[in-house]
């Protein structure tokens, strides 16, 4: 049974079966069938690499349009920290909050503010006795899904705390219910403004038994185009923001680490690099570290496919925005304990999705067949058969989801042989 709801999908009309996405998918979740890409839903981690790479723009992310605001009487915007890095001439971060109110939101709760709380509690968490090191960040939903699918042995290394988006959603709702008792619970909408499809999937599916507290997800890019029309540099800024350098830096790779005020950390970004680091942690092949921050997108959240700005330019913009911000505006005051509702309460059960068969003996027979078949295949990973590599193709053939005749390189030899014999018989 597969009930995971994805946000990355294919626009079949636009796809011409070119194999580009096939070769860039980090989990080998794509095959080309009948000249169109097909996504294996069990393997897809919604990283968005195929959206980034598709030359026909046939891969898309599913998220709510801004008219979702009409579904609620009181709409709270939860802007991701990456939003501040999108604008060309943004002098004060406060203007973004102002703009969000102008385009129809009733209140703003910055995820950057919640991130500062998570940073403060992470510093406490790292000092707690018995915590398994290195602690791996729980912030990137794509990394979390990759760990559940492929690196379940690292489960106990994950920071047992909800990501900033969920803390923000919880606090935003509490605030709205406190300040506006006139609204019923379902009349309040907590709306996340997201840089990536990974977060959309996280909100749709939750994590294990945990249900997300976000009600809808819109994209940074849609919001950006609405905002730029409303944000006039001449307007007086009435709003103030509730975060500092620490919170805004969560938008880029290394930002979460820097907030730990500790030197023993590592930050890796880009899904391939993340994969490699996870492999090395699993093998015990890393130096002694306290904390590991992993972001599926290059550059961190500013590299998400639902943003508008080039991630490197976005990073440069963050630096200038950071300059006049206080270090942090959110310190932990309520004692030496992490509040219970900040904890990650459950973890998805491990499903060995890549196993060949339920029976070990049968799996071994199939693996032996795959090895044999691999030796016959050309080994050039051309993708023409519809599988990303010859190894994956051999696996598909043994699993009976592909036919050996789909290998055009092998077919070429067959055809050549046939033509040669035909020629010989003509010569006679």
């Amino acid at each position: 049974m597969n009930t995971y709801e994805h946000s990355v999908f294919l626009d079949r009309e636009k796809c011409n079966g070119c194999t580009t996405c096939l070769r860039h998918c980090p989990t080998e979740a794509i095959r080309i069938r009948d000249n169109h890409a097909v996504i294996n839903e069990q393997r897809c981690i919604d990283c968005g690499e195929c959206i980034r790479i598709c030359p026909s723009k046939a891969k898309k992310a599913a998220y709510s349009k801004l008219d979702v605001l009409n579904n609620f009487k009181w709409c709270i915007a939860l802007p991701a920290p990456a939003i501040y890095a999108q604008f060309d001439n943004l002098d004060e971060v406060e203007r973004v909050n102002d703009g969000l109110l102008k385009i129809g939101f009733d209140d703003v709760f910055e995820v950057a503010a919640a991130a500062e709380l998570v940073s403060a509690y992470t510093r406490m968490y790292l000092k707690t006795e018995g915590v398994k090191k290195p602690v791996i960040s729980s912030a990137c939903p794509v990394v979390m899904r990759l760990i559940t699918l492929r690196f379940p042995s690292l489960k106990d290394n994950i920071l047992q705390m909800l990501p900033p988006i969920e803390i923000a959603a919880m606090l935003a709702r509490q605030k709205a219910e406190r300040e506006h008792p006139e609204f019923k619970s379902d009349e309040i909408g907590v709306i996340f403004i997201s840089p990536c499809p990974g977060k959309v999937s996280y909100v749709k599916n939750g994590f294990g038994d945990y249900k997300s507290r976000v009600d809808a997800v819109v994209s940074i890019s849609d919001t950006y185009f609405k905002l730029v029309n409303e944000m006039k540099p001449t307007d007086l800024v009435e709003n103030s923001t509730n975060f500092g350098k620490i919170g805004i830096s969560w938008a880029k790779s290394g930002g979460e680490c820097a907030a730990l005020l500790n030197e023993d950390y590592l930050a890796a970004d880009g899904i391939e690099n993340v994969n490699r680091i996870l492999d090395q942690i699993e093998d015990g092949n890393i130096p002694k570290l306290e904390f590991i921050e992993l972001n599926a997108c290059i550059g961190g959240c500013v590299g998400g496919v639902m943003t508008v700005q080039n991630p490197f330019i976005a990073k440069a913009k963050l630096q200038s925005l950071r300059k006049y911000l206080p270090v942090s505006q959110n310190t932990v005051t309520d004692g030496p304990y992490i509040p219970e509702d900040y904890f990650l309460s459950s973890f998805p059960t491990y499903k060995p999705i890549s196993r060949l068969s339920d029976s070990m003996a049968e799996s071994m027979r199939m693996m032996a067949d795959i090895q044999k078949l691999r030796e016959q295949l050309p080994g050039i990973d051309c993708g023409s058969c519809g599988a990303p590599t010859c190894r994956a193709f051999a696996e598909d053939v043994v699993r009976k989801t592909a036919n050996i005749n789909d290998c055009i390189i092998m077919m070429r030899d067959v055809v050549k042989e046939y033509l040669d014999t035909k020629e010989e018989s003509n010569d006679d």
């Binding site: 492929r150 093998d283 092949n285 130096p287 070990m360 003996a361 799996s363 696996e395």
Partner: protein, 141 residues
């Protein structure tokens, strides 16, 4: 006794940066066989340590991974200098790694002890001047 699956990897002794690649490949295969994450972790740590040892001390060698229904066996064979005193080599902290390797963070003298710790069976056959063969087994529950 049913069939045993074999995966063979040539461990390149010239390229230090490639050390550890075989254990990554083994992991993928073991996952497909439906072996538990904990068993896979133990195999990959033991295999990784063994690979590094072959690169540091023996300029590479051959790693065979044999999978049977109830165990995973790792056989690491090299034609390196051999181990003079196996009991001494098994002690935590004992290392003959050169300084150049230590500066990279290796050579802490934990390789062989770790291999023993993470496996259910370990045997070392070594002749000075000829080479070393290490056989390890991790049982599949």
């Amino acid at each position: 006794m049913s069939e045993v699956l074999n995966f063979r990897f040539l461990v390149d002794g010239e390229d230090f940066t490639s050390a550890g690649q075989a254990s990554v490949k083994v992991k993928k295969n073991l996952r497909q066989l439906g072996i538990s994450p904990e068993t896979i972790r133990r195999v990959s740590i033991a295999m990784y340590e063994g690979e590094i040892n072959m690169v540091i001390h023996a300029r590479g060698g051959v790693a065979d991974v044999n999978v049977a229904e109830d165990y995973v066996e790792i056989v690491l064979a090299d034609k390196g200098p051999g181990i003079k005193d196996i009991n001494q080599a098994m002690q935590e902290g004992f290392s003959t790694a050169p300084d150049s390797v230590r500066s990279l963070g290796f050579g802490a003298g934990m390789g062989l002890p770790n291999m023993k710790r993470y496996t259910d069976y370990m045997d070392i056959q070594s002749t000075v001047g000829e080479g070393t063969t290490i056989t390890m087994r991790v049982n599949i529950e």
